[in-house]
């Protein structure tokens, strides 16, 4: 199919069948990370630092090892030395070396014959600490005299004389920013902060690891990407990747937080030390919050210039983000996304990746983009408001479109931002009249979308059904969307395609389900695999008919002579061809290994109505609209689900969620009661509009839908609160106490 002639109507794509894993998941049969057990299995427990920053002077495990049922204790001494870089960072985060770097940092781990014995034994491991000065706040960590997290961690990009916790500096842009500001009628600056939040998946990390003295091992684990688990564990443990077979369990949410390793190498190291017995390690919620995830906290300065008509002339952003005690805050993506929605003649970005005594940041849905949007969309809303412009019209006037040179470099191909603005404007929610203490907020968001290493294998069974083996764990219905695309391509029924997420030994390398890539990349790979099986089947039909294989086409699940000149033969269906596979050349299969090109960017526009209680400062979400360009919604219900889930995570970030550190550097709220994610009674229905501007780089037009939806809610909610109260909040979360204090200050004048 020529790429510029994407079909608009399909037999199956765009329908809403039951997901193939649905029955298992409503009956409790589906097996998640902690649901797996193996014969002879031990249980593990982890000893974690109660200090934000401390030298580990001594670890004494003798009492623990004396407890009946305890089989092994591991510390950093049980891990090989690895050179500086990704694997050193991962090893240091898996288990502390000379120093504990954050509250919750693993220091030792123990395996025993039961979970209770393991927990008892962990309490018997004595660790002697020398407490060191610590820093958890991003702006404090940026100071010249801040406690130093790690000497020598800065890379080449950091100029001499920078604050000691700066490990990476980004500095890029284009156009003449000063001339842009000089030509503006209105120039404004703002300072914005966001607190760290956690991905908040309901399933804690869990695995069963087994590693023998022969260096061969297996792992069962909840993860977004089991090839990453394999590669990272191998790197941290000094074993060969191919000797570790990793099976992904069903996954209870990830949102980016399960794209890396945390405690998985501990279970393998404990297994190796206890004679190769399998070791199960399941985190508690407090361990999840203290030692996994989260995202960065951010301190941001934005400056924007515009004409009196609201047309942007120039913009600058200076972002400081701490991503814990390791390099890797999402400041780069934050900068790249900051102004991506708009046409800008001149733009400059400056970013600092900063170390602090907090857990190592992991990816969280559109990493960096929500914070950037909070700052930029907040200031834009303020400025367009000052000029008396409609927020949707003003965005339309400045919207990035096909041919726009993006703020971060590439020139956009066909994108659908304008279409989302139009659809938002036409939605019924926009005509609802608001009452006292109510306000409406608009914001836009962007995510690049992504391809990544992808391997898929497809095989036709003897009865003409198809099995598809993929390596991207199904978090939100991807088996259904891949089965729809394969069935559409092969011309068979959806129910006749079974998609399985297979272990690392069964396919080439796959990157995780991340970056909104599964339906795009795995989907495209599966379609390519189906096309190559079709080609094989056409070849077999051509041979049977004695005609040239180019004279055979595949239509509606059958090989047919292509046109009258090819000859007159009745169609050969996939069922007929499959039944004869053994005598016509053997098994019929297709596969794809590659990094599928043709990624299509995704834009969204959100509109939220809120009501603020003037007595308590509590913000209630009255109605919420998500409009986003999916490219093509393969299974619209799961596209809507991504929009709704992203919006609600963003609402949580805007209103409730934050990491609260005490003066002692300890996390104050490591339970769901205090780290409060949105609950059903906090919310209305979340309205969605799926815009479809097909991505020319995908056979069915898919862009990817997971990430963008979390980006606009932060500023949309803040903008709505500004409309309701006249107070522009520059700091998240906009908790009732914070907003009430601001309202009281305003009342006092």
């Amino acid at each position: 199919m020529p790429k510029d002639e994407i079909k608009q109507t399909f037999r199956l794509v765009g329908t809403r069948p039951d997901r193939p894993d649905g029955l298992d998941k409503v009956t409790g049969r589906a097996r998640y990370g902690a649901d797996f057990s193996a014969p002879g299995m031990l249980w593990a427990s982890v000893v974690r630092s109660p200090h934000a920053h401390a030298r580990i002077k001594k670890i004494d495990a003798s009492k623990a090892l004396a407890l009946e049922g305890v089989k092994a204790v591991v510390t950093r001494a049980d891990f090989p030395e690895v050179p500086a870089g990704e694997y050193w960072d991962l090893q240091e985060n898996t288990i502390a070396g000379e120093r504990a770097l954050y509250d919750g940092h693993a220091v030792a781990a123990v395996a025993a014959t039961s979970q209770l014995i393991a927990h008892d034994a962990a309490r018997l491991i004595e660790v002697e600490y020398e407490i060191l000065p610590h820093v958890t706040d991003v702006d404090e960590a940026f100071k010249m005299d801040a406690p130093v997290i790690r000497e020598g961690a800065a890379d080449y990009s950091v100029p001499e004389g920078s604050p000691p916790n700066v490990v990476k500096v980004l500095d890029f842009g284009r156009g003449d920013v000063e001339a842009g500001f000089a030509s503006a009628d209105l120039v404004k600056e703002g300072h914005y902060t966001t607190e760290a939040t956690h991905q908040g998946y309901i399933e804690p990390h869990a695995c069963v690891g087994q590693l023998g003295s022969d260096g061969k091992g297996e792992m069962w684990v909840c993860t977004q990407g089991h090839w990453y688990i394999r590669r990272m564990c191998a790197g941290v443990l000094g074993i060969e990747a191919a000797n570790l077979r990793v099976t992904a369990s069903e996954i209870g949410g990830g949102f980016g937080g399960k794209t890396t390793i945390f405690m998985e190498p501990l279970s393998l190291a404990l297994s190796r030390k206890s004679g190769g017995r399998p070791v199960k390690l399941v985190m508690s919620r407090a361990e999840v919050l203290r030692a996994t995830g989260p995202t960065a906290s951010a301190s941001m300065d934005v400056k924007i210039g515009m004409t009196k008509d609201g047309k942007l002339t120039a913009a600058t952003a200076v972002f400081r983000m701490q991503g814990g005690a390791f390099t890797g805050s999402p400041v780069d993506a934050a900068l790249n996304c900051a102004f991506a929605c708009y046409e800008l003649p001149a733009v400059h970005h400056l970013g600092y990746d900063i170390l602090a005594n907090r857990p190592k940041a992991a990816a969280y849905r559109a990493p960096g983009a929500p914070m950037a949007a909070f700052a930029v969309e907040n200031l834009l809303d303020e400025m367009w408001g000052e000029l008396g412009l409609d927020p949707l019209d003003a965005r339309m006037m400045n919207a990035a479109k096909e041919g726009t040179k993006s703020s971060y470099g590439p020139t956009f191909k066909r994108i659908g931002f304008e279409e989302t603005l139009e659809a938002a404007k036409a939605h019924k929610n926009l005509s609802v009249k608001l009452g006292p203490n109510q306000g409406r907020g608009v914001a836009a968001g962007f995510w690049f979308n992504y391809n990544g290493d992808t391997s898929v294998s497809l095989a036709v069974a003897e009865d003409g059904t198809a099995q598809v083996s993929v390596g991207t764990p199904d978090i939100g219905g991807s088996r259904a969307s891949i089965a729809l695309m394969v069935a559409e391509t092969l011309g068979i029924e959806y129910e006749d395609v079974r998609v399985s997420v297979v272990e690392t030994g069964a396919l080439g390398v796959n990157e995780p389900t991340h970056g909104s890539r599964a339906t795009f990349a795995t989907g495209k790979a599966a379609v390519e695999a189906a096309e190559s099986a079709i080609k094989d089947m056409c070849r077999r039909a051509a041979k049977k008919w004695g005609i040239d294989e180019d004279a055979v086409e595949w239509v509606d699940g059958a090989a047919r002579p292509a046109g009258p000149n090819a000859g007159k033969f009745p169609p050969l269906s996939i069922v007929e061809i499959a039944a004869k596979m053994s005598s016509t050349g053997g098994p019929i299969a297709g596969h794809y290994e590659g990094n599928p090109p043709g990624v299509g960017e995704s834009f969204g526009t959100h509109v939220v109505d809120v009501e603020v209680d003037p007595e308590t400062g509590r913000t209630e979400i009255l109605r919420y609209l998500v409009v986003q360009d999916a490219g093509r919604a393969i299974h619209p219900s799961y596209v809507e689900g991504q929009y709704q889930g992203g919006a609600v995570q963003g609402i949580g970030w805007a209103l409730n969620e934050e990491y609260v550190y005490g003066a002692d550097g300890r996390l104050q709220n490591p339970v769901f009661l205090d780290y409060r994610i949105p609950v059903a009674s906090d919310l209305p229905m979340i309205d969605t509009v799926i815009v479809e501007v097909p991505n020319p780089g995908h056979p069915y037009g898919v862009r990817g839908v997971g990430e963008t939806g979390i980006t606009p809610p932060l500023p949309a909610v803040a903008n709505a609160i500004a409309a309701a109260t006249g107070i522009r909040m520059h700091s998240l979360p906009i908790s009732p106490s914070k907003l009430l204090a601001a309202m009281n200050a305003k009342r006092k004048g």
């Binding site: 409503v26 649901d35 209870g252 919620r285 689900g641 609600v648 994610i677 059903a680 229905m685």
Partner: protein
Amino acid sequence: MSKIHVTTTVNGDTVEFLADPRETLLDCLRDKLGLTGSKEGCGTGDCGACSVTVDGVLVSSCLVLGVEAQGKSVTTIEGMDKDGELHPLQRHFVEKAALQCGFCTPGFLVAAKALLDKNPDPTETEVRYWLAGNLCRCTGYDKIVRAVMDAAAEMRG
């Protein structure tokens, strides 16, 4: 510490297990009886993923001790379908795409069934408040609330 012998009824079957007095009902269901449909999301009664009923009362099984199940009747997600026929809630959850990762789903189903057993015609607000003790991070609750309302409507006939 010596273990205590517990005899109880789970999903209609009489079962026995030895429980350490510190073990939760959730631990016993999952690790001793192999009923892993009930999930631990928090262990502190905040997320509802471990929801079961004990003598008809909806509880977080992570906050009940295993030994407390002695002589009681426990119903878990594994007991929700009847001989393979799904409860209308289960069917509506699949048909309405009310789950994404599915980890919180067993808890939501058990809690929603407890609601409909008490109140066959709940308003949207009643559904939202009843289910406020069940956390879902994937869906934003929209499709869950709709599935519960639709199942209730179907069950009312």
